[in-house]
Symmetry: C2
Subunit: 109 residues, 2 copies
């Protein structure tokens, strides 16, 4: 069973219309890499037809999030994000205080 | 200027393929109502072609979130969500510890 997530990173972004192939290649690479990071638990990612996207990643600690934020390949992706792929984005690092699911209801203490 | 959000609610949901008209009507009603709730700051909502959606709402306090959670019309919508519109969902109430934006970089202390 996976550990209960203690932290969530909310990444909201607006894609530019350009650079689809390079964006997809990098996005796939980042998904592959983040899954190998210590403390990474899971992620949900959604983008609509207008290019607005939200990715939530779940983590065991802030330290794990900081390690991913400063990981070399991820830093390169962040730079390209600013120059090529995103017209705007926001990132929030959040501590999960309570969580519940349907059908199964669970609590995070 | 809007107050700095202190809390975020992450609502991740999978829509059933059915009941599109009733869902849209209720979703619009909820958007209208939540904007009048004390402590509500803003929201971002994205759903993809497969029916996976993420809505992030930003709040000034946990108390404001609890008031919205137990608001009468919202409770009705939650019940209908379980029986009609969603095959599954999860809700996380989170305290924002750090936030930054591109182009403008800001910090939440």
């Amino acid at each position: 069973m996976k550990p209960t997530p203690q932290y969530a990173v909310i990444f909201t972004s607006q894609r530019t219309p350009a650079e689809e192939a390079s964006y997809e290649a990098m996005a796939n690479k980042m998904i592959e890499m983040v899954q190998r990071m210590p403390g990474f638990i899971s992620a949900d990612s959604v983008r609509d037809a207008n290019g607005l996207g939200v990715t939530i990643s779940y983590w065991s600690s802030v330290e794990a999030i900081k390690q991913w934020k400063t990981q070399t390949e991820h830093l390169k992706a962040q730079e390209l994000g600013k120059t090529l792929w995103y017209s705007s984005y926001s990132t929030s690092i959040c501590r999960i205080e309570e969580a519940y699911n349907y059908p199964l209801e669970i609590s995070v203490s």
